[in-house]
Symmetry: C2
Subunit: 217 residues, 2 copies
DNA sequence: AACGCTAGAGAACGCTCGTTCTCCGCTCCT
DNA sequence: AGGAGCGGAGAACGAGCGTTCTCTAGCGTT
């Protein structure tokens, strides 16, 4: 019933609030942006804010869902053209373009998880689902390229690491370094499509490196 | 002068406070743990807390410095034995052992950066310095192994990505996947010690993939 | 034995947060 | 035209934060 009692214009105001919340939460962190900052930024009164959204946490959730759709669009744009190998590599070029934007401050999902993952199970679950879906999409692309699915996990780790490294270092170098690493991994996986069983098992090239490394710590 | 007026026992109490702060901040996030929670956990009164530390932020900084030393010790333990290649790979085995601990909740530096990096420049700088020093150590190890220094950046990205992926997914799989990827990258770099100039430059194997990928978005 | 001083415990302060409530002005129906 | 009802603005509320202050109990000194 609260869904039915919307006035005309509600959707536009909701969208404006969510856009402002996204911008502020991303730039400053979620806990650093109060509802009053949202009111000041949008000009929407507190009462109206609470008639559009039941709580701050629901705004956070909607912002994350919006970021999820945006991320998916960026990925699909990147993998639209080219051969299977090139489509995988293009993801890291997309990352480079993103990192170069002056308001880049890392992956909002990673930031939110670090800030609220231990406190809010719902946000933790949204972050988990987002990352799981990206990995699933990567697996599709990897399989289409003819490599084994373990390559997808490796490429995902490279993408995650590039995002945190670029955010902390403040440069976009990590995207190019991740791209170079991805090319090596893709080529190796395509050359030897089921090498992961030999890789994830006890190492074949350097015997006995896992277990005896240390009784220490 | 405040440094000189310490009573006997101060150092032990300081250490206990820092240990409790580390545990609570890591488990719940920094902003979620108030000074009163620290008092309840340690039994040290608020007045004594503020005679031992000038502010909460200084406690956070000391906790991060402690984590920095702990991380360095873990890395040095891992790279103590074996050949140059094996020492690099051993870092990912160390990560696997860490991820398997039941209180694992990701890298505290990454979490703190996401939570406070935009608000507190001092904490952002501590995180940056920590990650830069790890990359510098990796570069030493990579050069000793006879590979070009660009491998170090790639291995660092793998380590960062493994930490965030393991924290969000809640499993330690990422450490093994990062290890497998690292082996491929190390072997490729050792096979062709100055391939990075061909990799980071406009791609040689798949021509014209960077720029024309998109006028889009 | 009496007194000045230090240190401990926790109440208190000022602030900010998320959320709700009150008041006021506008609008729409008869 | 006039009154009933609705929505907007922002003050108010209770809780929690980091930090400080007050009060008291214990100690060492003469």
């Amino acid at each position: 019933m609260s869904e039915a009692n919307r006035r005309p214009g509600d959707e536009a105001v909701r969208a404006a609030v969510l856009a402002a919340a996204d911008r502020l939460y991303y730039a400053l962190g979620i806990q650093a942006v109060g509802m009053d900052a949202l009111r000041a930024e949008t000009g929407v009164s507190l009462k109206r804010l609470y008639s559009l959204f039941p709580s701050k946490e629901s705004i956070v959730e909607e912002v994350l869902h919006g970021r999820h759709r945006l991320w998916n669009d960026l990925v699909e744009d990147a993998v639209r053209a080219g051969g299977a190998r090139q489509r995988l590599v293009a993801i890291y070029d997309m990352l480079a373009r993103w990192f170069d934007q002056d308001d880049f401050r890392g992956c909002m999902f990673i930031n939110s998880f670090g800030e609220l993952g231990a406190t809010s199970p719902r946000i933790a679950e949204i972050v988990r689902a987002h990352k799981a879906q990206f990995q699933a999409r990567l697996t599709e692309l990897v399989v289409e390229a003819g490599a084994s699915s373990s390559l997808a996990a490796q490429l995902a780790i490279l993408a995650e690491g590039a995002q945190t490294t670029a955010a902390i270092a403040g440069t976009s170098d990590a995207a190019r370094q991740a791209r170079a690493a991805a090319e090596v991994l893709i080529d190796a996986a395509l050359r030897d499509p089921d090498a992961e069983s030999a890789r994830t098992a006890p190492a074949s090239t350097a015997p006995a490196s896992t277990a005896p490394t240390g009784t220490a710590s």
